[in-house]
C-alpha cells in the first residue's frame, strides 16, 4: 500500500505536471490523439449516419430484429469505410501527379532549414552538397507516364493505407459473418415459434 508520504509526494509532483507550456508544445500535444483517422472511433468520415442506415436496411431489411440490425449497421459502416479508402488512394496519387511528391511542403520559416537538411542528406548519399531536383520538374510530360510515376512516388503512403484497408476488410467480413449468423438464428426462432 502507498504510504501517506509517498501519496503526498505524488500529489506535489502531479501539481507540477501541467503539460506543455510553449505555444508550439501546446499545438503539438493538441494533435496527440490524431493520426490518420481511418480507424478512429469517431465515425462517418466522408459519409453520413443516413448512408449507414440506408445500407444497413438494404442488407437486413426493415423488419429485421435488433441483433440483425446491429450487425448490419457494423457491416454497412465497414463497407462505407472501405469505399473511402479507395478515394484516399486516388487523392494521394493525384497529389503526387500535381506536385511530384506526397510530402508536405515546409512552411516558409522552415524552408531554409529544410533545404539544408535535404542538401546534407544528398551529400551523405552522393558526396555532393547539391539540392536534389525539384520533384515537380522531374515528372514526365506524357499523362500516362506521369500517372505511373505518381503511383511510384505515392507507393510508401499507399502501402501504409494498405494496412488499414486490410483491417477494414477484416472488420467488414467479421460483421457480415455475424450478420449471416444472426439472420440464420432469427429464421430459426421464427421456425421454433
Amino acid at each position: 500500500m502507498t504510504s501517506d508520504r509517498k501519496a503526498e509526494a505524488n500529489r506535489r509532483n502531479a501539481q507540477r505536471s501541467t503539460g506543455p507550456r510553449s505555444p508550439v508544445g501546446k499545438r503539438r500535444s493538441s494533435g496527440n490523439a490524431r493520426r490518420h483517422g481511418l480507424s478512429a472511433a469517431s465515425r462517418y468520415v466522408g459519409y453520413t449516419e443516413a448512408d449507414v442506415i440506408a445500407l444497413a436496411d438494404a442488407m437486413a431489411g426493415h423488419d429485421a430484429n435488433a441483433v440483425v440490425k446491429s450487425f448490419a449497421r457494423n457491416a454497412a459502416h465497414a463497407q462505407l469505410r472501405l469505399g473511402r479508402i479507395a478515394h484516399y488512394k486516388v487523392a494521394l496519387i493525384e497529389r503526387a501527379r500535381v506536385f511530384g511528391t506526397t510530402d508536405r511542403q515546409p512552411d516558409p520559416p522552415f524552408a531554409r532549414a529544410n533545404d539544408i537538411l535535404i542538401r546534407l542528406r544528398a551529400w551523405a548519399a552522393t558526396g555532393l552538397f547539391l539540392k536534389p531536383p525539384d520533384p515537380e520538374a522531374t515528372m514526365p510530360a506524357d499523362e500516362q507516364d506521369r500517372t505511373r510515376e505518381a503511383i511510384r512516388r505515392a507507393l510508401p503512403r499507399l502501402l501504409r493505407l494498405d494496412r488499414y484497408e486490410r483491417q477494414a476488410m477484416a472488420s467488414r467480413n467479421r460483421a457480415l459473418e455475424g450478420l449471416f449468423e444472426a439472420m440464420t438464428m432469427a429464421t430459426g426462432d421464427r421456425e421454433a415459434r
Binding site: 443516413a50 438494404a58 476488410m169 467480413n173
Partner: protein, 186 residues
C-alpha cells in the same frame, strides 16, 4: 433522407474513385458487366459490385505501374550486361561505362545496336531472358511493393464475391422462411 441516400447508392456511377486519366465510361461498362453476370440487386449487393469494379480498376492501374517499373529498369539492365560483355579481360567495368550506357540508350530505338547487342549475348550463350532477369532484379524491390498492393486487391475481390453470394443465400433463406410462415398462418 434515408430513401434519398438509398437511391444514390443504387446508382452505378456514385462518384467512383478514379484518377483524372481514367475514363468513367470504362468504370461503368465494367460495373454493368459485373451487375449483369452476378445478377446483383438491392443497395448492398450493388455496393459490393461497386467494390468489385473499383478493385478491377485499381488492379489495371497497379499492373500498368508495375509493368512501367520493369520497363524503366530495362536501360539499366542492358547497361549492366553490356559492361560485362564489351569489356576486355584487363579492363575495369567503369572504363567501359560510357559505351555501355550509350548502347543501353540506343538499344530500344536503333535496330542495328539491338542486333549487335543480341549477337554479343548469343556469343556468350545468353539470350533476351538475361536482360529480363537483370531488369527484374533491379526493379524487384519496387515490384514487390506493387505485388503487396495487388495481393490486397485480389483478396478484396475474392472477399467481395464470397460476401455477395453468402448475403444472397442468407437473404434468400430468410425470405423463404418468412413466406413459408405466412402461408402456414393462413
Amino acid at each position: 433522407m434515408a430513401s434519398r441516400t438509398r437511391e444514390k447508392l443504387n446508382q452505378p456511377m456514385d462518384r467512383p474513385a478514379l484518377l483524372l486519366t481514367e475514363d468513367p465510361l470504362d468504370y461503368s461498362s465494367i460495373f454493368d458487366e459485373f451487375r449483369t453476370d452476378l445478377r446483383a440487386e438491392g443497395a448492398f449487393q450493388l455496393s459490393l459490385v461497386h467494390d468489385l469494379t473499383q478493385d478491377r480498376m485499381e488492379l489495371y492501374r497497379l499492373e500498368g505501374a508495375k509493368a512501367a517499373a520493369i520497363n524503366r529498369s530495362y536501360p539499366f539492365a542492358i547497361a549492366n550486361l553490356a559492361k560485362e560483355l564489351i569489356r576486355k579481360d584487363d579492363e575495369w567495368a567503369s572504363e567501359v561505362e560510357d559505351d555501355a550506357i550509350s548502347i543501353a540508350h540506343r538499344y530500344l530505338d536503333d535496330p542495328t545496336t539491338k542486333a549487335k547487342f543480341q549477337e554479343l549475348l548469343e556469343r556468350t550463350g545468353l539470350n533476351h531472358a538475361a536482360i529480363e532477369a537483370e531488369a527484374m532484379s533491379i526493379a524487384a524491390a519496387e515490384v514487390e511493393r506493387y505485388d503487396r498492393l495487388i495481393s490486397t486487391l485480389r483478396d478484396r475481390l475474392r472477399e467481395s464475391l464470397r460476401n455477395l453470394f453468402a448475403l444472397r443465400e442468407a437473404m434468400h433463406r430468410h425470405q423463404s422462411r418468412l413466406i413459408e410462415d405466412d402461408n402456414g398462418d393462413e
